[in-house]
């Protein structure tokens, strides 16, 4: 456990973080995950009300072996400051799938920071993050993709969308791609918006109350982040955590 050198917002990877909440946190505590060649691995992280600390710092270092698949899903819906940081190294033909959701109001900060290293050829990665915030809540997605010189035929995609339900909330998206190979596909997109008023009126005209209409629209918005989670029961469980949070405070 170290407290000597806390990061500051001058550090690229902590630029939008609640760094003041890192005091006393085990910053060097990285969880190591190794997915052996040909294996499949799935992990789900849920930070929900009733089971969270004021600061939830999770740092995972993942190595995905040749031809192996690693799927990570996360819903950050509680804690004053919640951060999931993932550093993943992909070997030949490996696949990394990430679906992340942040929801939050007041002055909470919830963020994903990923560094995806395509270290060998023919690996694929797909990251989808959806953030819904209100009050003075903040959601961040900092996504680095590094493609080394020999990682030809890399196919990497990163997609972020933020939905702000109230004035004062914010989201930050920082896609960073460093590509040293020349035969690769790297797609990234980021957008931010608010609930579609036309859709809300249309739904009201069919009899949906504003609360129900909002829940449906938020559910539709968040759905993209969980599309690749094959386990339907799990998918519904994660969606419920996120939607209940939105309902509870609005």
């Amino acid at each position: 456990m170290t407290t000597a050198t806390l990061p500051t917002r001058k550090d690229e990877a902590w630029r939008y973080s609640a760094v003041e909440r890192l005091q006393g946190e085990a910053l060097d505590d990285w969880r190591e995950i190794k997915v052996e060649a040909g294996d499949s691995f799935r992990e789900i992280l849920v930070i929900a009300d009733g089971a969270s600390n004021p600061t939830e710092l999770h740092r995972w270092r993942v190595t995905v072996g040749e031809g192996a698949t690693c799927e990570l899903f996360a819903v950050l819906a509680s804690a004053e400051y919640a951060r999931l940081e993932i550093e993943v190294t992909l070997n030949k033909g490996a696949h990394f799938e990430f679906g992340g959701i942040t929801v939050g109001g007041r002055d909470t900060v919830r963020e994903f920071v990923t560094r995806t290293i395509h270290a060998q050829a023919e690996a694929t990665s797909n990251q989808t993050v959806r953030s819904v915030h209100w009050g003075h809540g903040t959601g961040n997605f900092l996504g680095n993709i590094d493609v080394v010189r020999d990682a030809q035929k890399t196919d990497a995609a990163q997609d972020f969308k933020g939905l702000l339900l109230e004035k004062g909330a914010s989201v930050n998206a920082v896609p960073q791609l460093e590509i040293f190979a020349d035969d690769v596909k790297c797609a990234h997109g980021a957008s931010v918006g608010q609930l579609d008023e036309t859709a809300r009126f249309y739904m009201a005209a069919r009899g949906l109350s504003p609360d129900v209409a909002r829940r449906l629209l938020v559910q539709a918005f968040l759905g993209d982040a969980l599309v690749s989670l094959a386990d339907e029961a799990k998918r519904e469980e994660l969606m419920k955590v996120a939607l209940d949070k939105v309902d509870k405070y609005l």
């Binding site: 579609d196 009201a204 005209a205 069919r206 009899g207 949906l208 559910q219």
Partner: protein, 247 residues
């Protein structure tokens, strides 16, 4: 059933409806025709309660209650259906989920039991068949990727499922080919022709009125009703144009 009296409404401070009065009794279909910019769609949106459309004067009574005092979703639960000129796309929400939530929200507001999944599915399939809409389309997201004609037919399927007492249909005929026009016209008759129901059809053209014969035709110009007549008025309009008839 619907009684509009001296209605004035504006958008962004600009007056669009300027003393509109109109009465539609139960059991009747009325048509509103008028040139571009007359205020036809504004009337539809004001009746539906769209935010941004401000009523500055006048009243609207719906079955004896003050319609303007209700929220849009409350108007729907009270039995008002607004058919959109441009039905809205809602990515990520399936027609079935949307309509089941909508119907059960309305039923709950009226103190009725919600329909089960099975009951709802049967109802939805019946209404899709009535409008000759492929039931598979109900599984797709609301209006996403629908052609213009499919959107209008889907609106009528929604109307069939929600079974309103009063329907305001804003240019439901635009974008329909001749065959689809007949299907939609038949659908309106099947769903809405009843002594307890009434329809206000907003349209540019007389075509739809060949299938859905109105009791009265009103001509809207400059934000108010300038002429009222029977179905023959629509034919006169078609032949002579608005300028001659509404002058």
């Amino acid at each position: 059933m619907l009684k509009i009296d001296n209605l004035h409404a504006e958008i962004d401070g600009k007056t669009i409806l300027n003393g509109l009065s109109l009465e539609v009794p139960a059991g009747e279909v009325h048509a509103i025709m008028g040139p571009n910019g007359a205020g036809k769609s504004t009337l539809a949106y004001v009746l539906g309660g769209r935010p941004g459309y401000e009523v500055t004067q006048g009243s609207v009574e719906f079955n004896g209650i003050d319609l303007l005092d209700m929220e849009p979703h409350e108007r729907a639960a009270a039995g008002l259906f607004l058919g959109f000129q441009y039905p809205v796309e809602i990515p990520g929400v399936s027609n079935l989920q949307f309509l089941r939530e909508a119907l059960n929200s309305q039923r709950k507001a009226r103190g009725e039991e919600p329909l089960t999944g099975g009951e709802f599915l049967k109802l939805a399939k019946d209404k899709a068949a009535l409008l000759k809409l492929d039931p598979e389309m109900l599984k797709r997201h609301v209006n996403v990727g629908f052609s213009g004609g499919e959107k209008k037919r889907a609106e009528m399927v929604q109307m069939g499922i929600l079974d309103p007492r009063f329907a305001v249909l804003d240019e439901t005929d635009s974008g329909l080919d001749i065959d689809a026009l007949r299907v939609v016209g038949d659908g309106i008759n099947a769903i809405m022709r009843s002594p307890e129901k009434a329809v206000l059809l907003i349209t540019h053209y007389q075509r739809l009125l060949d299938y859905v014969t109105p009791a009265k035709v009103h001509i809207l110009a400059g934000g108010r009703i300038v002429t009222t007549g029977g179905p023959e008025l629509a034919q006169k309009l078609e032949a002579e144009g608005y300028e001659a008839v509404a002058a």
